[in-house]
């Protein structure tokens, strides 16, 4: 990576559906090169917040002031992995991984090689030539992950990227993601407190009505942290207690 | 020896568009072409047929083609609408148009048409002609129901969907009916109060006529020669006619052939100015045209001094 990844700062983030504000004047900053995990109840607006940061359209009223630390536009420096895998059925698995390059019309042999490597790393080397419709749910999600990693972006937004894979594969993918996303500014939504504690520099919980962001402590050791880590287990108890708090507290 | 002696003489191209697909009424043209009468006169005649008879005069007016076959009643409307066309020759010098009923219908006089259905194929003046015929027999248009049966005069009549058809060609539809085993009975419109007219005429662009006058004269000369030859040698002419396109050799065309021969104008370029004056007056009286044009606008006699 030539330049250091930018940090992000959001101010005044508001989202209202059907007159019900989901959150209102939210503020948060994401440091350059940090990994943030975003947790919160189902329907609290995590995916919508990610969409807002990615600059994607939302159907209703929303506003956000986004400041990028190096003041350059995000376009071309951002990778977004949606909650659904969004594989395109008319491209084979390998081409789905290098979809960005293909769609931008710049795919070359090196891209192909890199895509193959990534497929191998997510454990799907043997599926490269298949159609996405022949994949299992977890395999699809891994292809989507590989596609996101392929972009090699300095800002990475991931929405529940490991929800459909088994526990063991998930641990392996954690390692892979940590290794490949080192030095990127990552914002990741997850429902798994352990996962958050394993991966995050910083944990944010979206809570309340309208919701506000609460920062939760994270263990101090190097990521990805072993699940057996004592500090992690302490933090986990605290995090679960936080998540348990009734929404209207 | 120079190349010029071997090169064919330069022919003047003339494009002619018929009024409809080739059928026996076009025999003089076809035979003239078959017998090389046009080449002999230094003409290269190209013959086309349209699917809609109203198109060729427009193309003549627009200068897209040289000559078109049209109908005299249509010519009056065309001139009235400002098309720069004029008649330069005649192919069929009597009306072919007739009102036809089934012979077994018991209709002996047009006055019996009251309350009946009359089919017609859009011609522009059919309504006026019918109205005149009815008036001649003490009826008016409201006494009959007119139905436009477009493509199929004969089937409509044979299958008794209509009681009579007007705009039928006496040389053609009657033969057609006979072939299907139904005898037809024709009422000739010139006997029912309609001024007589030239059924098929050649029209040319009035604005550019002078430049082509000589070529057209030669063209009509060839048509005239072909007509005379056909009348002298009807069987041989039939052979020549069908040789033009083997698919013309059908029982129907053969039956229509004999009925058509007497109808050809023996002097294609001769002009009967009275017919044009009278028909123009008739149409004006019927409210079909807005102003009376002088005969000199409607038709020319290329041989007139």
């Amino acid at each position: 990576m030539p330049s250091p990844p930018p940090g992000l700062e959001i101010r005044d983030a508001s989202l209202t559906f059907d007159q019900r504000p989901l959150f209102h004047r939210l503020t948060a900053s994401f440091e350059s090169g940090s990994w943030t995990c975003l947790l919160g109840r189902s329907g609290s607006g995590k995916s919508s917040l990610l969409r807002m940061i990615a600059g994607l359209s939302l159907p209703d009223n929303h506003r956000l002031t986004l400041t990028v630390s190096d003041a350059r536009p995000l376009r071309g420096r951002l990778a977004w992995m949606a909650q659904r895998d969004l594989l395109v059925p008319w491209q084979r698995v390998l081409d789905n991984v290098m979809l960005g390059a293909r769609w931008r019309g710049q795919a070359n042999a090196k891209d192909r090689q890199r895509a193959l490597t990534l497929l191998d790393q997510v454990g799907l080397a043997d599926k490269a030539g298949q159609w996405p419709s022949t994949l299992s749910g977890g395999q699809r999600q891994r292809v989507a992950l590989a596609r996101t990693l392929f972009e090699d972006a300095s800002i990475v937004l991931m929405d529940e990227p490991f929800s459909a894979v088994d526990a063991i594969t998930r641990l392996e993918l954690h390692e892979l993601a940590c290794q490949l996303l080192v030095g990127r500014t990552v914002i990741m939504v997850t429902h798994d407190p352990q996962e958050a504690l394993r991966l995050a520099d910083r944990i944010l919980v979206l809570q309340g009505e309208p919701a506000y962001l609460i920062t939760q402590p994270t263990p101090t050791c190097r990521r990805p942290r072993p699940l057996a880590d004592i500090e992690l287990q302490q933090c986990q108890a605290e995090l679960i207690a936080r998540l348990r708090e009734p929404a209207h507290a | 020896e120079s190349d010029d002696d071997l090169a064919p003489p330069r022919l003047i191209p003339i494009s002619v568009m018929l009024d409809w697909y080739v059928n026996p009424v076009h025999a003089p043209l076809i035979v003239a072409k078959q017998r090389g009468l046009f080449e002999q006169r230094g003409l290269d005649v190209d013959i086309q047929s349209p699917a809609d008879p109203s198109v060729p005069p427009k193309l003549v007016a627009a200068g897209r083609i040289d000559l078109a076959l049209s109908y005299q009643p249509q010519l009056h409307l065309q001139v009235d609408q400002g098309l720069p066309v004029t008649r330069i020759g005649t192919l069929v010098a009597t009306p072919l148009n007739a009102l036809v009923v089934r012979a077994d219908s018991g209709i002996e006089s047009l006055s019996q048409l009251a309350g009946k259905k009359v089919g017609y194929s859009v011609g522009g003046v059919e309504e006026t002609l019918l109205s005149t015929m009815l008036a001649h027999n003490g009826l008016n248009l409201d006494d009959v129901e007119m139905v436009n049966v477009n493509f199929s005069l004969t089937p409509a009549l044979i299958s008794e969907q209509v009681d009579a058809v007007t705009g039928a060609f006496r040389n053609f539809e009657l033969a057609q009916m006979k072939l299907e085993g139904v005898e037809g009975k024709a009422f000739y419109i010139e006997e029912e109060g309609v001024p007589t007219y030239d059924e098929l005429i050649f029209v040319a662009n009035r604005d550019t006529l002078d430049a082509h006058r000589d070529a057209y004269r030669r063209f009509l000369d060839a048509v005239g020669e072909a007509t005379a030859w056909i009348i002298n040698h009807p069987d041989e002419a039939w052979q020549r006619f069908t040789a033009y396109d083997p698919s013309l050799d059908t029982p129907l065309n053969e039956a229509a052939w004999d009925a058509t021969l007497p109808r050809f104008a023996l002097r294609p370029s001769a002009l009967d100015a009275g017919r044009y004056r009278d028909f123009e007056a008739f149409l004006l009286e019927q409210g079909q045209i807005s102003a009376q044009s002088p005969v000199s606008r409607l038709a020319v006699d290329l041989d007139a001094p």
């Binding site: 996405p132 | 249509q74 400002g82």
Partner: protein, 266 residues
């Protein structure tokens, strides 16, 4: 970085729509006039917009009378054609092995130039409204049947599986799963059918008629009243445009779930 905010379409939106529709008319008329001016088309082949407008005004009673007849034929044909097309699509989807047998039979209805059928229709049905409605139906029928069938056979497998485990029988599956899933495809066919309906009625009139816009056009053409013919044409085109956008709007209403959605694929 800019502030991002979206705003819902206000009442101005529909005004803008109408405005764009009017713009279409202006564009068309401009194209038309331009053709005449640049290509020097004589007025007995293509009259000027002004002349046609004059004919529209002067002959509005005549036009209204014939247009009303044609409108009845169009509506009748549209209803009949859509119902028949839908029924065909459902039958094809229900009995799929029949496809190779039935589809060619139906294709024939498309491939036969209507004038060949005209005498037969005339023989059986005479010259009333019925044969015209039938002609319009034949024209409308195929787009509906074809797109409908294409839509029905492309139901995502997941929903079919779900229907299976929910104990839905084949008829219910067809009507409650495959049919709603095929609506977007069907809508495409319906829009096309709507725009083809007027020409269907007009072709019907050419076969044999004494009223209607098609009749008027043929008559005016033969009498070289080209202004009047094009005035009738304008009315006909107006019908087609109105029908297309009418059907389009109705279809949007009928699929409310397609409006307020940020839908995701696969």
């Amino acid at each position: 970085m800019p502030e991002r905010a979206s705003s819902a379409p206000g009442p101005n939106a529909s005004l803008a729509r109408v405005g764009r529709g009017l713009l279409a008319a202006v564009v068309l008329i401009a194209l038309w006039q331009l053709t005449i001016t640049l290509a020097d088309v004589p007025r007995y082949i293509l009259p000027s917009p002004l002349a046609v407008a004059r004919a529209l005004v002067d002959q509005h009673q005549l036009l209204a009378y014939h247009a009303s007849i044609t409108a009845i034929e169009i509506v009748g044909g549209l209803i009949g054609g859509v119902l028949l097309g839908l029924a065909t699509a459902l039958a094809l989807a229900r009995f799929r092995p029949l496809r190779r047998t039935l589809l060619p039979v139906l294709l024939v209805s498309q491939a036969i130039p209507l004038f060949a059928l005209a005498p037969i229709l005339m023989l059986w049905l005479g010259y009333g409204l019925l044969p015209k409605i039938l002609m319009a139906m034949v024209i409308i029928y195929f787009p509906v049947a074809s797109t409908g069938y294409d839509g029905l056979r492309q139901t995502p497998q997941g929903w079919l599986d779900l229907a299976d485990t929910l104990g839905v029988n084949r008829r219910q599956r067809l009507l409650k799963v495959q049919l709603p899933a095929a609506l977007p495809a069907l809508a495409s066919g319906l829009r096309m059918a709507a725009s083809a309906a007027p020409i269907g009625a007009v072709i019907g009139e050419w076969v044999g008629a004494s009223r209607g816009l098609g009749f008027l056009m043929l008559n005016a053409n033969a009498r070289l009243q080209i202004d009047l013919m094009f005035a009738a044409l304008v009315v006909l085109v107006g019908f087609a445009v109105l029908l297309y956008f009418g059907v389009d709007t109705a279809l949007r209403r009928a699929m409310p779930w397609q409006r307020d959605a940020v839908e995701t694929p696969d």
